[in-house]
């Protein structure tokens, strides 16, 4: 069935303005990353003893992984809940997930004080540590995603016998992927369980794990929606509005559940919500602007069924997930810390470059891998 290397999309390989900008950003980021490696974190970032975690943790690690939640969400939807109609979204979701985890791993690499020791948790164990668990899960899950993409790659090059082998163990991969994702997506929230007293009441909750998990589902779904809409535009394909608005319905439900969880949690803990300061401002933006509002929007079929409506709703929800990660890991500490923190230019360049890299890889994937074709899982 496999054609030899062929063009799937018009305009492939051309250096468009968009791509040029991405490359520039990538180069800037590479320079910053090199500087960071040779000069150290202190010289290149604005991190300090009061804010040891900054942009890279908030975005590259926490937000990146949450936004990459699409992979396991779609896999579960399709394989476990058997909602086969969403199959066309699966491969892009996997690709974007892989991208997200790549960002995570590279971001983490630069964020670690001793990056070359990134493998240490594999051999030096502290089973009490949430971060230990996260690192194992992420490593394993990234491997799963890599295998998955490898299979897709094999498909392109028509290695049938190999594909058959993977087809036989595919269920193991899927289940492992979902399991690992459930664990680490929630554990990333549980990282912050250790510091309840330092965080603002608004986010310091024992329920951080489940909340992170739920918002990762939201992050995944909204990214898939956005990515599908965007790629159809870029690669000049007809948007799959039908499937997407069904997904939108799911997203609305997820947002509602998340909203309910948050409100219940705040209420149960008796958190002081109605105060006006910067910390609360960001909290309100997060809760109402990026959870309640998109849920509300998506509840209208008029919105759900239009490209523009989906853009806005999914965009807000995705932004909300990112904002939530920043809020938990940075905003919530403002009241406690003596210093302030705003990322340095180099930090921003590196993060921007990671985003650019993600997009470029996605672009490559779209161009060279059979992403929008019927795939293994479907025949299985």
């Amino acid at each position: 069935m496999a054609e030899k290397v062929q063009k799937w999309y018009p305009g492939e390989g051309k250096l468009t303005i968009g791509r040029a900008i991405l490359y520039v950003v990538l180069v800037l980021g590479l320079i910053s990353a090199a500087a960071r490696l040779f000069l150290g974190l202190g010289a290149t970032t604005n991190l300090n003893d009061a804010f040891p975690w900054g942009l890279w943790v908030s975005f590259d690690i926490l937000a990146g992984v949450a936004l990459a939640g699409g992979g396991f969400t779609m896999a579960a939807t399709i394989y476990i809940f058997n909602l086969k109609k969403f199959e066309p979204l699966l491969r892009p979701a996997k690709l974007s997930a892989f991208m997200g985890y790549l960002v995570f791993v590279i971001g983490l690499f630069f964020d670690l004080g001793q990056p070359w020791r990134i493998w240490h948790p594999m051999v030096m164990w502290n089973p009490h540590s949430v971060l230990f668990e996260v690192s194992w899960c992420v490593m394993l899950y990234t491997t799963v995603l890599a295998i998955d993409l490898f299979i897709i790659g094999l498909e392109r090059y028509g290695k049938e016998s190999w594909i058959k082998f993977f087809r036989d163990i595919y269920l193991v991969l899927v289940v492992a992927g979902i399991m690992l994702s459930t664990l680490h997506q929630s554990s990333l929230g549980a990282l912050f369980l250790l510091m309840p007293q330092k965080m603002s009441d608004l986010w310091a909750t024992k329920a951080l794990g489940p909340l992170f998990f739920c918002s990762a589902v939201i992050g995944g779904m909204s990214v898939i929606t956005l990515e599908s809409l965007l790629s159809s535009k870029i690669y000049k394909r007809k948007p799959e509005i039908g499937i997407l608005s069904d997904l939108g319905k799911g997203l609305a439900i997820a947002l509602l559940v998340y909203f309910a969880m948050k409100v219940t949690d705040l209420y149960a803990r008796g958190a002081t919500v109605w105060v006006w300061d910067w910390v609360h401002f960001w909290f309100f933006v997060e809760l109402f602007g990026t959870v309640a509002l998109p849920a509300l929007l998506l509840s209208f079929p008029e919105v759900r069924k239009t490209q523009k409506g989906l853009y806005w709703a999914a965009g807000l929800a995705a932004f909300g997930v990112v904002l939530n990660r920043f809020n938990v890991s940075l905003t919530s500490y403002i009241g406690y810390r003596q210093f302030g923190y705003f990322p340095s230019a180099m930090e921003i360049f590196v993060t921007a470059a990671l985003i650019a890299m993600g997009i470029l890889i996605f672009d490559l994937g779209m161009r060279y891998l059979p992403i929008h074709r019927s795939e293994l899982g479907g025949e299985h």
């Binding site: 974190l41 004080g113 020791r117 502290n126 510091m195």
Partner: protein, 267 residues
């Protein structure tokens, strides 16, 4: 056999000999600073500063000024948050008391810094191969049967080194024999599940204005390590549950599909 240090701040003359002794023993660099209004300098603990004396000038009830000096350093928690979160086990509570750090393991993730409720672990921001730094309780001296460097240096006996239970007894003896002189609490006895650094003060930590600089009074008696352990203890169950559910549902759907297919064949 767990050692501790009792810091009786009512005896401290703020001479900072312990601050320098610590730098000397640990071979720590001096920093460039500017004048500090309180005289405490450097103003924060850092990778060059494991121990600093905080100066507190406060009014007494009778309107006179009083001046207090408080050594700030790692609490050497009995159940330390830092050690419980470290993904590679670079930090470890020894049964002898110190919470020690292994240079060779640390990956520099700085989770310990985030987790420590007392804001103690500090990072070598100035280095390209940075490590975590904090008071070691002079574990290597203890291993040789010596008291920590700061303790040996202190001229006034403000720093008392010994077995934790004995020190607690001594602390309460002091409070009991001079109730006017002491605030009736041993900070660290139960704080955060108990620590190997214990404090006696003349007035409360709140009155000293210390709670914002790491002397937390809102931690209760909760051992800080349990937050992470509580989560991690659930992880295997979640894993099994999620895995089982997935496999179950998958086969359920598969079976249904088969039944449907059979029905179709038959029908």
């Amino acid at each position: 056999m767990s050692k501790a240090v009792l810091i009786d701040t009512t005896k401290c003359i703020g001479c900072r000999a312990c601050q320098v002794a610590c730098k000397s023993w640990n071979d720590l660099k001096g920093e460039r600073t500017v004048f500090s209004e309180t005289w405490s300098n450097p103003r924060f603990l850092s990778s060059n500063e494991y121990n600093r004396i905080i100066f507190r000038e406060i009014d007494r009830p009778d309107g006179q000024v009083s001046w207090h000096f408080i050594s700030r350093r790692c609490m050497h928690c009995n159940d330390p948050a830092c050690a419980s979160v470290c993904p590679v086990g670079a930090l470890e509570k020894m049964k002898e008391g110190p919470v020690v750090y292994d240079d060779g393991k640390c990956i520099g993730c700085r989770y310990c810094m985030m987790a420590c409720p007392f804001q103690i672990p500090k990072f070598e921001w100035g280095s390209a191969v940075p490590l975590i730094r904090k008071c070691t309780f002079c574990a290597e001296r203890q291993a040789l049967g010596l008291a920590p460097s700061c303790v040996t240096t202190c001229p006034t006996g403000t720093l008392l080194f010994g077995e934790r239970p004995q020190l607690l007894k001594e602390a309460y003896r002091r409070i009991g024999s001079e109730p006017k002189k002491y605030y009736p609490q041993v900070y660290g006895e139960k704080t955060a599940g108990g620590t190997s650094t214990l404090y006696l003060t003349a007035v409360s930590l709140e009155d000293l204005g210390l709670t914002r600089v790491g002397f937390r009074t809102d931690l209760g008696d909760v051992p800080q390590g349990i937050y992470g352990r509580a989560w991690m203890s659930k992880v295997p169950f979640v894993a099994v549950a999620v895995g089982g559910l997935c496999v179950g549902l998958h086969y359920l759907h598969k079976r249904r599909a088969e039944i449907k297919a059979e029905e179709r064949k038959e029908g």
